[in-house]
Amino acid sequence: MGSEFLTPASQISYTEIFYEHFPFYLAIGMTADEYWNGDCTLTRYYKKAFEIKKEQKNEELWLQGAYIYDALCAVSPVLHAFAPRGTKPHPYLDKPYSLTKEKARNDKEAEHKANRQKAKAIFEAWAATLDLPSKKGGKDNADNRRSPNRNNS
């Protein structure tokens, strides 16, 4: 009873299993000395680090795809076979994507600030072109406008 579990497959020596896994750990950067003579639990961390690296690589490739997509979208107007003459491509992103939340927030704030400065400059330029009455004159005009009402009362 239970002898059915003692097949030759279940009697593989530990050494055979160690040699079976050895190439994988060499491939992910573990040295032979670390594998055979080092702390035996190191393999766990090498494997975990390998998983993290794979994840990072995947994210990098995804990001690259996103940049390529943006670039294609930017040039798409001129790729059109029947595009009107003089069509120009949209400009490519002026800076890379913000990869952290803090950088995204800072970039957004900087963009808002630049927009405000631009709007202020435009408004000031527009205001300078107007022939507005002087401060004193303005007050006089206001008094004049109000005076008929006072007389009526």
Partner: protein, 110 residues
């Protein structure tokens, strides 16, 4: 950090540990962990001696046997040695995602 057993004997500090190399050497010399139930009288001292290979390779077998005979609480010692012996294999077999997702947990009542 790998599991270790430490003690001092005759003014010298000993650290017992199993590496993959020491297990390979033991198996090359004929050690088989499955013999632990059939031939405990020879297997258990051999298991204890094998734990010296990693850090104290050149300690003579006479001294190891002497230390083994003097150690107390052998039942627990051998249990710990068996755990240590299995650790290099467990570290390879463990799936890093065991603690996440669909892992099936179990517990024994003994």
């Amino acid at each position: 950090m790998a599991k270790q057993i430490s003690f001092e004997y005759d003014g010298k500090q000993y650290t017992l540990e199993f590496t993959r190399k020491s297990i390979e050497m033991m198996e090359r010399q004929g050690f088989n962990i499955n013999d632990i139930t059939d031939k405990p009288m020879t297997t258990l001292p051999a298991l204890f001696a094998g734990a010296f290979i990693a850090h104290h390779r050149f300690v003579k077998r006479d001294i190891i046997d002497e230390i083994y005979s003097k150690l107390t609480n052998k039942q627990e010692l051998l249990q710990k040695l068996a755990e240590m012996y299995n650790e290099p294999l467990e570290a390879l077999m463990e799936d890093p995602d065991d603690n996440e997702g669909n892992a099936l947990n179990w517990e024994a009542s003994f």
